[in-house]
Symmetry: T
Subunit: 170 residues, 12 copies
């Protein structure tokens, strides 16, 4: 499935007016919607490991992943509304998420705790790169408001990476 | 894709001990996991309409769907953890949600506000039936704790239906 | 006056859809509306004694009845909305309350403090029976959400009885 | 039924002493008790329409009437206690409310939303007049404390009228 | 000792300017300062009985007097600052309080609980009269701000009388 | 420019009904709208000096003027809504404020701190007189709700005067 | 020692009236009092291990057991008061707890951290069974209020088991 | 009237030192002061429509404009203080606002609700452009702190536009 | 049973290092552990009477004992942790409490309210003496931290005695 | 007037039992009651200067004395209740305060701000000495609870001295 | 002593992975660590003057420096963790601070209040320059998250300068 | 560098008066200032390890050290102000801290987690001894207020030791 939000011409009634020009109106949603999809996917994956954690560090890692999932989840509404403020269309469904997400699903029946943390660290690393790339697009298109929000999300993602990395560094 | 959590034998390390017996351990997760998936799907759909709302009732319906989505979202962690307390496996990924969800995605480019509310009302009605069916399964399997939680969720779902129905009843 | 809400056929625009079937839609409101009326009547009666209390225990009993009236009042909106979620009609007026209430009014010019407590204890005892009877009806009609709420109200009513009984037990 | 609180001579044990004189002790309760009864009646009527609201403005009007009913309800205990502080007797029962209320009950099976608001606006207008008349009585009897409270209630009632009027002014 | 604040001419540096005229500047402080002194005296007396309470109602009356003393104490700063806003001088010392207070001290070694409540009821009654008299003076001098505050204090004082009276009415 | 709100006949759709009569409906808005304008002007002037304060008392006076400006600002919405509750029209624009304000602007490039406080003290003194005059108009027109609010604002204004006066009284 | 509360006939003054009948009044307290005793015993045991924890997971397990002990402790007052609301007698002393408790004491001088968690997991498992058995008794005796509370406690106990089990599952 | 803050040389005592150089000290205040003036003007205009709203969406739009006016108002102190931190002079008076404002006043006696929203949408659109232009000036002058604040204000303004646009899009 | 914590040599892993010397490490736990046991026993006894209270002062005494039991309970964790900070072992079980407690159990089927208060007053008096004796031991052993905590607990205990004594002093 | 609380033999009903012995029961109240009286006197004196402050530091010193008076006031109830817990009698009236106070009244018509601070500094210095002397008496009489409270009050008093001293040190 | 964190090669276990490249990983910590050291030094210096303040403005300046020190202190943990998120090493000890700090210590025995403020103003000015320089380095190295944080710290520092400057501008 | 605060004679303007005598004024600051310096050093060291933690217990130990550093930091202002209340001089600079600190810096490039905890445990042990020694000096000099504060800090330090010790005791 292609990206629904890009194929469909934005209906007149949803074209919030904006002084950034048509190019920005195309480019920013094209950069942000996959990040929203990734945030959903990473949220579910972090919760997956939060729910299926085991081992002597159980409570500690269970809480760590809960905090991280909360932080990821909080991005979704803010970024989706940014797209709408620019007059773009945004995420619509589970299927839409699936078609846009770049974070890979993980359906393994059992994952060792350290492997859980390692996989999430790798996902967060690629997520940080996506955020930085999207920031550049916003910057190039003079969308200073979205750019400013992404700066904070990069910091949070780097924090998640740091915690996961150090926990793995025995 | 089949239900990952049912195909895989539960690994020993995730088999939380429980006095409900093997039958309940099979039946309750088999009833609850699709509800968790539906809650995800209904959450995204409610947010979809929250984000793409338009018309003279914009703020009112935008807020209505925000409140309803918050309420739906709050069920997810509670029910998924119930499954884990019973020693079952639960939701793992976007793909897993997609394979279990019974609430249908809605990728229409533009939906009239009244149609949005009507579709959500229908979804919530079928969701209420699912919750009631699951409640019966918990009851039959003596899982009184899950049953008790579902009673509250039925009430909340009936509230969502009521609000949507009356708003449509011009 | 007969029960307005039962005589009148529910107008189409107020018929919130529900999967419990027509029998439940008749039976539950028929059981809950008199409880809402009783809650109003018991609320006013408890406030009556709260306002006209006297004697050396004045502050203590004044506060006791204030707490009890708050607890009773909190049931009203919740139960009336339950009726509406089921597609029934609910309480409309002082006259409607009067026609449905089973708690008897008390217009005595002066009541001894102990007699106040005794009368309220008796009212709460019959109210507890009404709640338990209504619970059975909900249960029989598979209305698990209303039933669950009533369980808590039975506990609160039994607490009111306990406090009143022990205060009287010199 | 006549006003119970006026027929009965106030029992000695409930005659809170006060320096306002016998005339005030008669006049102020005679003015305030019907306002307490009206507040009850208007409270139930506002809730009636809150519960049986319908139409595209459902949530907005449902919330509006909830806020208004809360505001009305908050007057009851304060004013009834004012009567008691003056050594008068106050509201005792549903029947007592019914005998004193001047706000008329409304048991119609279905009321159009606009009609609900119009009826409440008219009720609040006559309620504002009652409050202003009672204020004059308190003033004439030097009961500055009750008068001061009524000034605030007039403001709140005028606010309710304003909201209802403007909502009707299409 | 005479009233220090009236003997001394107000120093220039403390003569807050005001448009009420010289008569009001004399009359209102002359009415309010004794009320501040009475509030101090009544506060100490209420605490005296709070501290030396005894008997089977100990906790209940101990709390009652604590609440009443808090309410009395809260008047002091507000009223003293009113005097200063009018350009008058206000309370300066224990001795100054003693010279202005009309509430009588009570140094009895042991007072029966009921007698404590009775004495406080009488004190609050005379205090209510003082407040009402001061209100008239403010009114006559167009000091609407002080008058408005006193209306609330009359209500609180009448509430204290009510509680004390009913507690005594066995 | 004349007062826009008085020249224009109030449109039907904004004529909130009220039992005070036509005279009050004219007189009270005519008294209150200039006070709202003055509050805006005094707010900006107080902020002007808050922003351009200097000298060794910088922080203390900066905070003082901040508190005072907050207090002034809080009057605006309350009073403008009072006008609307009476069925009058109220403030519409910067130009409207300018045409009604009686507090004079102050655009001096540099003002000594003491001069700032002195000018504000004078402004608050004339503002207090305006409030008292408006109170009389409300009183004469039986608008007890507006009158009651003004009593509190007089107290606050007198407090601002007191603080400013004493700070200047070296 | 036998169960004091069952040997003694309930004194008249403590026989809170109830419509559940004599059988329920016997059966429910007989089921609930040992649970209260077990809750005390499990509370002390959980605190014992909380206080004598050691090893590299010290803080994590110390906090885990603190949270679990808080949760267990919160049941005690609620359940003991349920017994009293039904007119039964409840726990009186350390000795009474000792005579009714089924959770075994653990006075070992040193216990390995993993052994602490294992022992508590076993205790919580038997406690869950006791709760479920008591729930059945309440259900059979129509004591819907106690039953409803127990449903929540079963959920909490299953949560404690889950955390302990997964922490042990290396 | 010319811009007072630019004509007057900044007095020495108000020249907060800063390392951005003279050009920034001129350019940034010249860009920000008109935005502060616009914020005042837009605040009053939004309140104007908040106060004079009418029609069936009354409460909803009344609240919407209240939220939007609060958001606009919150910018004023922050931006004016930014100017002062850079050593510039800022807004002084109603007249000063009038001379700098670019948002046009609206003194129409009656405005249809939809027209109110449309006019505000247009104003917010031009305001967003002003903010973006000012951001560029800050950026060019290396004033990173002001720039960072403006990024957030652009987001809020785009949100206001979005809400107004969608409400108008029937 | 002897005191488990004293018989057993403290295991190496639980010997928190401390500069108070071996004598203090023996003496302080020997003084504090029985106080922890007494606190448990007094807690249960106070709750016993809280649960089985009766008579006209029911609510007042029920609340009094609830407050007192909360205060007693709050000591337990603090003191037990003090013992562990000194490297001692502390309370382990119900049996351990029973072996160390000096407050006597009270299993009487019915106790008159006044007798309840009298027994608790006596218990609190002996508890105050134990606390003072333990304080001396801490002082003699230079354990200033435990001593400081006990000073506060003596005050609380003396407050409990005061309330109980005065309530009994009719 | 002599100290009322010492002349009168403590009535039996107010003789809270205590294990400190008769000497402590005499000595501690004899030391603490004058401190309570001094706290009252110092409170009024600090408020006196708070109310009659003037000069360019007005707000700063007005707030300083407000904070200090709050701190002083908070001691009164705590220390008076300590006396009662020991079975002593405590403060009864304005006259009683006057007879015991050692802080001297100050009725001067006008006091320079610096003189106000200087006088309060001296008063606080002598108050600190009184507190330290009373601490010694408590210590000598083994009243560790009162002693512990006084340690905190000495710290607060020394803080007041520090602030006053440094403010005077130009 | 050289900068410990730059001399030492970052150990593998502390090398948090990051996509900014090796140059950024060197440059950003090299810019941020001295700012952390300066924040420590400026914090202690601001507290030094907070503690040793004197003169008639004592309380005002004491509070000013307390607020400023709190603001400075809040930067430390945030910036040190930024360094760690980038995989750099950060501050380790007092000695390390000393070797990196550029804010000079001030050990003078007595400093006049105005001199304290002047010295801090100069320090904050140089600190603002350091922050701006570090911001440029982050920007050049694409470290948008650190840059965003610094923008806020520049604003706070400019606020501190403004307050200090205006206080000095008599 | 010698201790700056002891070499310099205390300037007259900083000599807060105190009744403890010259010896105490010398002895207490000489004991407390090194403790303030140690608290700074231990704070930085604890943060050092908090920032450079690694390994599978990362989050748990990272949080532990954060809590411990917060607790240590909270002592600094309180103790430094104690010194000033006694008229002594206190900490001025990083260099001053360095000259007084007895806790040794730790600049190692990599420290194993367990070694971090061990080093901090040793530091806290010596810190506890310092606190106890300082307490004795305060006690000997009759400085009861400082002594009382130190008692609490000893408890907190012993808690830190306990947590660190048990975490190391595998």
């Amino acid at each position: 499935m292609k990206d629904i939000t890009l194929i469909a011409a934005t209906p007149q009634k949803l074209s919030t007016p904006n002084d950034l020009g048509e190019k920005a109106r195309q480019a920013v949603p094209a950069a942000i919607n996959p990040i929203v999809a990734d945030a959903f996917a990473l949220y579910v994956k972090t919760k997956n490991f939060h729910w299926h954690m085991s081992g002597s560090h159980y409570r500690d890692y269970h809480l760590l992943l809960d905090e991280q999932s909360d932080q990821i989840f909080a991005m979704i509404d803010v970024l989706a509304e940014r797209v709408r403020k620019l007059g773009g269309l945004t995420i619509r469904s589970i299927d839409h998420i699936k078609s846009l997400q770049r974070i890979r699903d993980d359906n393994d029946a059992f994952v060792q705790p350290k492997d859980m943390l390692r996989r999430l660290m790798e996902d967060n690393k690629s997520f940080a790169s996506s955020l930085r790339a999207a920031h550049k697009i916003c910057d190039d298109n003079n969308d200073i408001a979205t750019a400013s929000l992404l700066e904070n999300y990069v910091d949070e993602t780097e924090r998640r990476i740091w915690f996961l990395y150090e926990t793995l560094s025995d």
